[in-house]
């Protein structure tokens, strides 16, 4: 499985699963809109019928901003502090949607709404446990890495007499932190794929398997993530240049930039889903390559002439057109969860 095929696979899967994209974007929009409308009411109520805000239409006005924050800053902080709750809720909703998204990746253009949400429900409990496990691992990795890198940074900059040293040290430790933390996130991402693809019931097993998978394919899984990171950075740059080109200086400009913003948010959701798709494709590809390799190895092994076998003995089954029993077990594909009989039912 090449990086290129994983990437193209990811984008192809997103294109073939628009439902996932709209659900993800819709979830983000609705959660944000709840806060944004609260924000709007708060601002309208606070500024009342003043003309001062007119200065904010054409440009940013620091006096209006600072007077607003002096008088109504606490109200603003009440609204903005709710963002953390929205992030938490969106994490739960994303966890819920993950099963459906993978289901639609497994059957591009063929997953019905019912099957989508059935898959969402089937994997929810496992994915919630996985989320908890992943969050704990990521937190431990983040704290541990931070502590180690802090020491490293302190040693590096201890005798620094120029901020250039500090900037280099900071860039290095930030880069290392991002990579290590990113790997911890990848453990969780591939564990989710692993649970789905192999219908693994134990999240610990899935997580362990994912760790092995990520570490044994580290350069490729990282490369995939870096590509998506760069795509996101490019999108941000495009957004800012568009925003400054259009400018929110009139009602029309505000509307156009609002639309550009939403296109950006949709694109970011698309990139995230594409990353999930690439992980899904890459994991599947590598696993099937591994299976194929082990099958061929077994076939090769079975074709190998052995000295202790007399030539009069019958040929192995594979030569007669059928793989041996062990190889047949290996190439048997896992049955999709949604189509499997729920556990505990007869």
């Amino acid at each position: 499985m090449t990086i290129r095929s994983a990437l193209s696979g990811g984008f192809r899967l997103v294109r073939s699963s628009p439902r996932a994209l709209w659900l993800t974007y819709g979830m983000t929009l609705v959660l944000s809109a709840v806060l944004a409308l609260g924000f709007r009411s708060m601002v309208s109520n606070a500024v009342g019928e003043t003309l001062a805000t007119e200065k904010l239409t054409a440009n940013f006005d620091y006096t209006v901003y600072s007077d607003f924050m002096n008088k109504f800053g606490e109200r603003y902080h009440v609204v903005s502090s709710e963002v953390l709750w929205m992030i938490f809720i969106s994490m739960l909703l994303s966890t819920f949607l993950a099963g459906g998204i993978f289901e639609s990746y497994r059957h591009p253009r063929q997953t019905s709404t019912g099957a989508f949400f059935e898959a969402c429900g089937s994997y929810l409990w496992r994915y919630l446990r996985l989320l908890l496990l992943g969050a704990v691992v990521a937190a431990v990795v983040a704290v541990g890495t931070f502590m180690v890198l802090s020491l490293f940074y302190s040693n590096w900059t201890q005798d620094a007499v120029s901020e250039v040293v500090a900037v280099k040290a900071l860039a290095t430790v930030a880069g290392v932190f991002l990579v290590v933390f990113g790997i911890a996130i990848l453990f969780h991402d591939y564990a989710r794929v692993s649970v789905f693809r192999s219908d693994e019931r134990s999240v610990l097993n899935a997580y362990g398997r994912s760790i092995l998978f990520v570490l044994s394919n580290l350069h490729k899984v990282l490369a995939i993530e870096i590509v998506y990171f760069l795509v996101t950075v490019a999108m941000i740059l495009v957004y800012f240049s568009l925003e400054s080109a259009v400018g929110m200086t009139s009602a029309g400009g505000i509307l156009v930039v609002f639309l550009v913003q939403q296109v950006f948010v949709i694109s970011r959701a698309g990139v995230r889903l594409a990353a999930m798709g690439s992980e899904f494709a890459y994991f599947g590809g590598v696993e099937s390559e591994k299976r194929e390799r082990s099958v061929s190895a077994m076939i090769q092994a079975s074709l190998q002439p052995r000295a202790d076998i007399e030539s009069s003995q019958p040929l192995p089954a594979a030569v007669e057109g059928r793989p041996p029993k062990s190889a047949r077990r290996a190439i048997r594909k896992p049955v999709p969860t949604s189509r499997r009989r729920p556990r505990g039912r007869s």
């Binding site: 983000t28 959660l31 944000s32 809109a33 806060l35 944004a36 924000f39 709007r40 601002v43 309208s44 500024v47 009342g48 019928e49 003043t50 003309l51 001062a52 805000t53 007119e54 904010l56 239409t57 440009n59 940013f60 006005d61 620091y62 006096t63 209006v64 600072s66 007077d67 002096n70 008088k71 963002v83 929205m86 992030i87 969106s90 994490m91 994303s94 620094a160 007499v161 120029s162 901020e163 250039v164 040293v165 500090a166 900037v167 996130i185 969780h188 800012f240 925003e243 400054s244 929110m248 009139s250 009602a251 505000i254 609002f258 913003q261 950006f264 948010v265 970011r268 959701a269 995230r272």
Partner: protein, 666 residues
């Protein structure tokens, strides 16, 4: 050829600065009383971070009193231990930079004697005139056996050793970078009766407090600084000579005239950039990594400020200005002023939209006028130098770098220097906590910066907008000319205002401006005017009997038609500060009416019967009252704009969407 050479020598000799005793005379005619003159030799031990100095002070009694004791500042003892008044008050930090463990600093006077006379060392006594802190050692008194008679001088030889603190507050070292300020035994100011607020002769020699800076008499400084040969030195004054010594050290001799302090910096890393503005030699000592990106910013901003002050207030008489760019880790020494030497602040590749370099350079150079030449008392009336200088900074920054973007202009967010200054005052948690006229060490609950720097800049801008810039400029020029190389106090500044304003504007603001300063300088109240209410009701035109040209006329009007509009505009004074203010009333048919209100009462209603109703109204439409702490309530409209609310709602929505997407990494 010889003839030409001889001629050149004659010309050179004619135009060369006069010299006496091998040193260049900077001002043939003294600009100041020069009653505190120092000759100092100091050796820096770069390893031990110590100074070993020999100082000769020639002090002249310019009062009519017989002076029986002398008082000295030993500023470096502020860093001696945790019991010093400075460290108790500051909590071991200044402007966000904390003291490093083990980085103590101190100064010992090892010997003090009258030149060729009595040894005074045993008479030295630590005193603490401002508080009861017996462990503070930043001021000493030295009783004299023989008093110093009026207009007589006393010469003292003082040997001292000092250890510099690890820099966190103005002075000290970091690695091999040394910013040596407040470093030598320095005599206080004797204030005879009638000078400033003195009712009887007394020493003005305060302890070193967390917020306080400096106050000293003018004089000459001849300072020989010995440092390792690899070090680059920048100092107050003019370099006279540089001599390499046999022990791998070098002695640089600097002379300064008509200044009241001396500081110097040394580091082997400094890169030196020299430039010129008119006759002023600009010397920038900058960190190597910042040379390319920040060097031009320093030079451009200091030249712009030199020009601005020259055009606005008066001549910068000194032949040099030295700018020290502190190294990374020594930021605590940045943003500091000394006569003819300032310390800046910069960072490698700092974006040009963040005008930190310019702001600090403009501010610190401004102190050459308000502190350097106009020698007010920073301990007791910090607003006179920091506040007036902050006002100068906002003017220069806004006029040079943009009215709405002089402080920063990056990623669509921008603010002017004045806007940030005003916001720092208006946004204080309690802008009524202290008056601006207060000893700097009495801001015990904080707010020193907000009240002395920012409120002063804000009320001086208000004054400027009330009386007009030309009158304000005349005030500043007069104040400078009258008080340069002297020690003015608040009442001297107010006296200049009270002299110029009636002269130029008559009694428009009353016989004097005391009412203004009583409120904004000595008072603690805030200014807040509000456009409280606009109401418009339909009404009929005039009906009934009307006296017209001595006759009774019957006006039919239209009792039932109600074609006219009766509008009421209510303006209120929410704060206690009373200022005259204008109100602009805009009618639906486009007509406008400007009202004037003396602002004395709690509220004022303006009533109109017109064809059109009032559409919107603004109190203080020209934004004269910069000191108004809330501008949001200064206007009201029947049809307020909705676009800004939607604009920021869209931005907020986008911000939350991105936060959710960023947080959604699992």
């Amino acid at each position: 050829m010889r003839t030409i050479c001889s001629f050149s020598l004659v010309i050179a000799a004619l135009f060369a600065p006069p010299r006496a005793n091998g040193r260049q005379i900077i001002f043939p005619k003294p600009l100041s009383p020069r009653n505190a003159n120092y000759t100092i030799s100091v050796v820096l031990d770069a390893q031990k971070k110590t100074l070993t100095g020999k100082e000769t002070l020639i002090w002249r009694n310019i009062s009519r009193d017989r002076i029986r004791e002398l008082r000295f500042h030993l500023y470096l003892n502020a860093f001696k231990n945790t019991r010093s008044t400075f460290l108790v008050e500051s909590g071991g930090q200044l402007r966000g930079v904390g003291m490093e463990a083990g980085g103590w600093g101190w100064i010992d006077v090892q010997r003090m004697r009258v030149a060729n006379g009595e040894d005074l060392t045993s008479r030295i006594e630590f005193i603490h005139p401002d508080d009861d802190n017996t462990q503070d050692q930043t001021v000493i008194r030295v009783p004299l056996r023989e008093p110093v008679l009026p207009n007589h001088t006393i010469a003292l030889d003082i040997d001292f050793t000092a250890r510099l603190p690890h820099v966190f507050a103005r002075t000290g070292y970091d690695h091999d970078y040394f910013m040596v300020g407040q470093w030598f035994p320095k005599i206080g100011v004797y204030e005879p009766a009638g000078m400033r607020y003195s009712t009887s002769g007394q020493w003005n020699c305060h302890q070193f407090h967390a917020n306080t800076e400096f106050y000293a008499d003018y004089g000459t400084y001849d300072v020989r600084i010995t440092v390792p040969q690899t070090f680059v030195v920048g100092a107050v004054g003019v370099l006279q000579s540089s001599t390499k010594n046999a022990d791998s050290t070098r002695t640089d001799y600097y002379r300064a005239e008509d200044v009241h302090d001396f500081s110097w910096a040394a580091s082997p890393l400094f890169k030196v950039v020299e430039d010129q503005w008119r006759n002023v030699k600009i010397r920038l000592l900058i960190q190597p990594d910042r040379l390319a990106s920040q060097g031009p910013r320093y030079l451009q901003s200091v030249k712009a400020t030199l020009q601005y002050f020259h055009d606005w207030v008066g001549e910068y008489p000194y032949p040099t200005i030295t700018i020290i760019d502190p190294q990374w880790g020594a930021g605590g020494s940045g943003g500091m002023e000394y006569p003819t030497l300032i310390t800046g602040l910069s960072l490698w590749n700092l974006p040009s939209g963040i005008r930190l370099v310019e702001e600090v350079t403009v501010h610190e150079f401004g102190h050459q006028y308000w502190y350097g030449m106009v020698g007010s008392n920073e301990f007791e009336e910090a607003w006179l130098d920091e506040g007036i200088n902050q006002y100068s900074e906002t003017r220069i920054m806004d006029d040079t770098y943009g009215k709405k973007s002089s402080s920063y202009d990056i990623l669509g967010y921008r603010a002017s220097d004045f806007e940030t200054a005003r916001a720092d005052y208006a946004g204080m948690s309690n802008p009524k906590l202290y008056p601006t006229q207060l000893n700097a060490w009495d801001y015990k609950e904080g707010g020193y910066g907000g009240f002395t720097y920012m409120k002063t800049a804000t009320f001086l801008t208000t004054l400027e907008r009330m009386i007009g810039r030309p009158v304000m400029d005349e005030i500043m020029r007069t104040y400078f000319e009258r008080w340069k190389f002297r020690h003015p106090c608040a009442k001297d500044f107010i006296a200049v205002v009270n002299e110029i304003v009636p002269k130029r504007l008559g009694t428009k603001f009353g016989p004097n401006m005391n009412w203004f300063f009583n409120q904004v300088l000595y008072g603690t109240d805030v200014c807040d005017y509000e456009l409280t209410k606009i109401s418009v009701e339909r009404t009929s035109s005039l009906a009934g009997t009307v006296d017209r040209n001595g006759k009774k006329v019957e006006e039919r009007g239209g009792l039932d038609e109600k074609k006219m509009h009766e509008s009421r505009v209510l303006v209120s004074r929410l704060g206690e500060v009373k200022m005259p203010v204008d109100v602009l009333v805009h009618f639906a048919d486009g007509k406008e009416k400007r009202e004037h209100w003396d602002g004395q009462d709690r509220s004022k209603e303006f009533r109109y019967i017109a064809d059109s109703g009032v559409e919107w109204a603004v109190v203080d439409p020209d934004e004269v009252l910069a000191i108004d702490v809330n501008t949001l309530n200064n206007s009201k409209s029947e049809d307020p704009p909705s676009a800004p609310v939607w604009k920021y709602t869209a931005k907020f929505l986008f911000w939350v969407e991105n936060a959710i997407q960023l947080g959604n990494i699992f």
